[in-house]
Symmetry: C3
Subunit: 169 residues, 3 copies
Amino acid sequence: MIELVLGGARSGKSGYAAQRAEATRLPVVYLATAQALDEEMRERIAHHRAERPDAWRTVEEPLALAAALAREAAPGRCLLVDCLTLWLSNLLLAGREEEIEALIAALPALPGALILVSNEVGWGIVPENALARRFRDEQGRLNQRIAQLADRVTLIAAGLPLVLKGAPR
Amino acid sequence: MIELVLGGARSGKSGYAAQRAEATRLPVVYLATAQALDEEMRERIAHHRAERPDAWRTVEEPLALAAALAREAAPGRCLLVDCLTLWLSNLLLAGREEEIEALIAALPALPGALILVSNEVGWGIVPENALARRFRDEQGRLNQRIAQLADRVTLIAAGLPLVLKGAPR
Amino acid sequence: MIELVLGGARSGKSGYAAQRAEATRLPVVYLATAQALDEEMRERIAHHRAERPDAWRTVEEPLALAAALAREAAPGRCLLVDCLTLWLSNLLLAGREEEIEALIAALPALPGALILVSNEVGWGIVPENALARRFRDEQGRLNQRIAQLADRVTLIAAGLPLVLKGAPR
């Protein structure tokens, strides 16, 4: 069971994904992809951590996500990846784009429940910066590919879900 | 009865909110938060005013929105606030962030009908400007908090509504 | 029968529009509005072309869209316009805004099926660039006007449709 949770910045997508993870009633492993490279990121990471239930185990993996998922996934366990956007940004900065194919290849075979959080970044004016244009192309393509593999896809605005694919509840 | 109307720039959210206000068949007070600080704003304000029914009363309040709502709200009356995004921008510029808590505290007790218009601003590439990043964080948080209190929330694109919460019609 | 397909960059809107065109089982004429002014555009155009079925006929028209539609439309034929956003950008650059009114006037009388693809560009922070602000205003207004005339309007995210107007399938 793969679920993809999409939304803009501060749309409440992480909170919604956390509710969905809790609703599985399975033990949850939280897979954090953020890297604390500056003060602003450190604050965002601390803010997200404070919102997570104490019972969850946290695993940090900025790059080798497919390997981390293969290691952690198990029947009767829920993995929550937050988020694919920071992970994709890490990959492009590190020149590790091959990790995208590794993730797509790994997803169908994973046991247990998997919830993935990702950003919508292409709904504004074309960015003047060529790297930003490339990033939004890669992000859009990644979201489409994962949505195809997912059993359920939701788009979040103001903390509320619109179901793009799968069961309404 | 609180309704939140969300959407991007020129999505038709103001027009949709106006239809919703008319549909209440109550007398409408239009609460304008815009400040005419330059020629472009003056034109946008005039454009919006020309689209409003003559029967509506307009109240301008760029900052102290909670107080204005408490003053104007009444059973059998509909207040339409357009929009929370300009209001939030005014607050941050004036250093009056405490008005956010005042609004959240005031909303549940207001009599009559209330329709609030707000922008979605977080669906693009991360802005390079730190103030812009802060603004989209604050806007996203505000939209989430109001959506939680609202009876009905819609997301508008091309003038058409997607219902996020509450009754389809 | 007019269908409008909306979405962000790399949302899968072109792919969805192509599926909808195929589903009509009519011969398809693809109306391309892109101009290959630089290498990046040439690559995007080639990428889109490689994804199209060989049986489709392609007509290129960057500006005079209403005339091209009037010339090509026929009962038992499906026209697919991809996309209105590049076309609008071409119009503003060429000072040919009158083509917008020509398109709106032409649409209701066209025979056959017509599918139009357009971008959502107003869901980010207000652009600092005045031309970008004007573009997103014009794009938002155009999408609203076409949505009013359309029989079906969808909003695409990650390749999946949300129906804003018309039949679910």
